[in-house]
């Protein structure tokens, strides 16, 4: 760490001294800061005990990000402190330091990054490093990246390094190494003759390999695992077609019960759009495609790739209560969405037009057959199974049908209503073995009334009706805003239908906040259910808590 900072400091100093004039004329520094502080109360009803808090009573997550730029040179760092982490975060987050330090040089021909970086090849099926601060996820690379622009429309990328694993420093053989390359060609930019074809086309391909020593006493494991993918994006008039296919050689791991099957993944979407109408159909198949830089890790960490769940990401606390997560060992899914705006001046459109969104998604298991009569499906040390690419299992993991209508009634009142029908295989998705799949009806209504040009009142009501899991829920929220600076809100979520009468809890919160420019201070008091919370003009993913929360965020 000291060495890294020394080098960075020297590099900065020397570059500064060499061209002292530049420091004052062209150099620039930007950054951001955020901290979340929670004062906890033990609250047995929602599962926060003295043992959860461990007597520490306060959780604080915070970071500061700085970026220095001087012409073609840039450097940056992020300091993080989780002391202790907020409840709901992985306890391995506890710690402080600089997990993200980098320097880069970029010209029209080449871009070099040394240190930590985030990168994605195509849709991420074989490589994606990213961070999601509010979820405490960060799988950044620590190594080098080179990006080349050798010809118009052509981009070449090469990366290597190790991945972040909470605060554990990389040491020889402590986890795997990742190497990868990607090429993308945009034909419209590369060949002027292509312009006249009326098509928009780009193609790309990538290869990623991980190395991890085989120290297994029983199995002979591949130390180098290669993954390959090819993709294209084709546009013609109002139509657009995207497809990516990925393949991985056998990679026995804790995630797939150490089977020697190869992996495959495909993601494809076809969309049509014109003014007032958008339609998209998306298909996906994933077969044995968990790809981590440590084969023994099963938790949500050290992922080399990203297998996107393609169902709609909902924006209200109850509709987002049962979110789907991709099953990397195998799934087949489809999604269909129509966005339509009924034009102004028609019977249903009224004076302002009416928006309609219709969305359907379903994900099933893949079909697995025995390799031979004597081998059980998914048996460790074998091929595991065979699977027909086009066959869909009857086992449904997830299904979501939803329709949303939004409308402005007059210059003061606007609103939206939503209905959702959900099937959620909680046993598979959350690992609650033996539990019955959740079948639920949900409704949301969200109306905003403008009291004056800057004062508005928003009311939100939600219901979730189900026989399974925690039973029925209802939620209400009222929010008063004074643009652009102030808000105050009260909300309650009530689990009135919980089969266990002792758990029919209210989750009430009172919150208020002040925003000026990009500085935002928000205070929340009460009991918070975990999930997506959109209040005070922003949306955040929050863990369950009880007590008092302060969020302060700014940038510069």
């Amino acid at each position: 760490m000291i060495k890294k900072i020394t080098i960075l400091a020297i590099a900065l100093l020397s570059s500064s001294l060499l061209s002292a004039q530049d420091i004052f004329d062209n150099a620039r520094i930007t950054g951001s800061f955020q901290t979340d502080v929670q004062f906890y109360r033990p609250d047995k009803a929602i599962g926060i005990y003295d043992t959860t808090i461990l007597g520490r009573k306060v959780g604080i997550n915070g970071y500061t990000n700085l970026t220095y730029s001087l012409g073609k040179f840039k450097a940056g760092l992020r300091y993080e402190a989780f002391m202790t982490p907020l409840s709901g975060f992985d306890p391995r987050q506890e710690g402080n330091g600089f997990p993200y330090i980098w320097a880069s040089y970029s010209s029209d021909l080449i871009e070099i990054t040394a240190g930590n970086f985030y990168e994605q090849f195509g849709n991420g099926l074989i490589f994606r490093t990213y961070e999601e601060w509010t979820l405490g996820y960060d799988n950044s690379m620590n190594g080098m990246r080179v990006v080349l622009y050798p010809a118009k429309g052509l981009t070449l990328k090469g990366v290597y390094g190790s991945q972040r694993f909470f605060w554990q420093k990389y040491e020889r053989n402590s986890r795997g190494l990742v190497r990868g390359a990607d090429a993308e060609l945009n034909l419209n930019e590369a060949f002027t003759s292509f312009e006249g074809s009326g098509l928009r086309l780009s193609i790309g391909g990538s290869a990623v390999s991980k190395y991890q020593r085989d120290a297994d006493p029983i199995y002979n494991l591949p130390e180098n695992v290669g993954a390959f993918s090819g993709r294209f994006n084709l546009g013609a008039g109002n139509f657009s077609l995207m497809t990516e296919y990925a393949y991985k050689i056998n990679d026995p791991s804790a995630a797939n019960n150490f089977i020697y099957q190869n992996g495959q993944a495909v993601l494809s979407s076809l969309s049509y759009s014109q003014k007032g109408l958008g339609v998209v159909l998306q298909l996906k198949r994933v077969d044995n495609f968990s790809f981590k830089s440590d084969r023994t890790v099963t938790a949500n960490a050290l992922d080399i790739n990203f297998l996107p769940p393609i169902n709609r990401t909902h924006a209200y606390s109850l509709t987002a209560k049962y979110p789907y997560a991709t099953q990397p060992n195998g799934e087949m899914g489809l999604q269909f969405q129509v966005n339509y705006k009924i034009p102004k001046g028609t019977l249903l459109g009224g004076k302002y037009g009416t928006g309609i969104t219709l969305n359907f998604s379903q994900v099933n298991d893949i079909v697995r057959n025995q390799v031979n009569d004597t081998t059980a499906i998914m048996e460790s040390g074998t091929l595991g199974y065979t699977s027909d690419f086009f066959k869909v299992s009857d086992h449904i993991f997830f299904r979501d049908f939803n329709i949303e209508i939004d409308k402005r009634f007059n210059s003061k009142l606007k609103g939206m209503v939503q209905y959702m029908n959900l099937l959620y295989d909680i046993a598979t998705i959350e690992g609650h073995a033996g539990e019955e799949a959740v079948k639920a009806h949900l409704g949301v209504a969200d109306f905003t009334y403008k009291l004056s040009s800057r004062n508005a009142l928003r009311l939100e009501a939600q219901a979730l009706i189900t026989e399974q899991d925690e039973g029925d829920w209802a939620a209400l929220m009222a929010e008063y805003t004074i643009a652009p600076k102030w808000f105050v809100a009260v909300a309650d979520q009530y689990n009135y239908g919980n089969p266990d009468e002792d758990k029919r809890n209210h989750y009430y919160t009172v919150s208020a906040g002040y925003t000026r420019e990009s500085t935002r201070l928000a205070l929340t008091f009460g009991r918070q259910n975990e999930g997506v919370v959109c209040v005070g003009g922003v949306c955040r993913q929050v863990p369950a808590s009880s007590g008092f929360t302060i969020t302060l965020s700014t940038n510069f």
Binding site: A9, L12, L13, S16, I23, F24, N26, A27, R28, I29, T30, G31, S32, Y68, S106, Y118, Q120, G124, E131, E184, N186, R200, S202, N233, G235, M242, S271, S273, Q274, K275, G276, G278, V280, P308, I310, T313, H314, A315, Y316, A320, Q335, Q337, V338, Y340, T357, D446, S453, R454, N455, A456, A483, P484, G513, T515, E517, S518, C534, G537, V538, C539
Partner: protein, 165 residues
């Protein structure tokens, strides 16, 4: 020793912070149909630019962009301001962005930042986060969160920029 170095580093950084020549960081992002786009191409002939970060799962963001859209024709006529809406949806939802944009009839330019590269370069912590740039591409004002009516204050600032010239 370590602390000293950090202080030294911060010192160097802060010296240079006194004079800022702000122009947009150059990052490779995508257009709605998946073709590459460089943020250095965000331009408006010396007139103001609004850049707004949003996502499909963010209702306040969509309310803000709906509000912009209702006034966009008028704003453009009066000041020539140009709006870029940057979706930070990742590959789980990028396919749904274009249909939503067309379905809503948004008239401004919408771009995709599927791995958050532009978001990080602009130091965006939470969305919606909206930047106002002057004709030279310098950030003159920014705002997190959206409350009904905030677009009026933003537009006052746009008008001030235009009248200054």
């Amino acid at each position: 020793m370590k602390k000293l170095l950090i202080i030294l580093l911060m010192g160097v950084l802060s010296i240079s912070a006194f004079s800022q020549e702000a122009s947009l960081p150059k990052v490779a992002i995508k257009t709605l149909d998946g073709q590459s786009f460089s943020t250095s191409d965000i331009k408006n002939d010396g007139k103001p630019i609004i850049i707004s970060f949003w996502a499909l799962w963010c209702k306040p963001c969509q309310k803000e962009l709906d509000a912009f859209n209702e006034l966009y024709a008028e704003w453009q006529e009066e000041t020539g301001v140009k709006i870029y809406a940057i979706s930070i949806d990742d590959s789980r939802s990028t396919a749904r962005v274009a249909p939503l944009v067309k379905g809503k009839g948004w008239e401004f330019e919408v771009l995709l930042d599927p791995n958050g590269d532009f978001k990080r370069a602009m130091n965006v912590n939470m969305i919606p986060h909206t930047f106002l740039l002057d004709g030279n591409g310098k950030v003159v004002s920014q705002h997190t969160a959206y409350f009904d009516g905030a677009e009026l204050e933003l537009y006052e600032k746009v008008k001030k920029l235009v009248s200054k010239k």
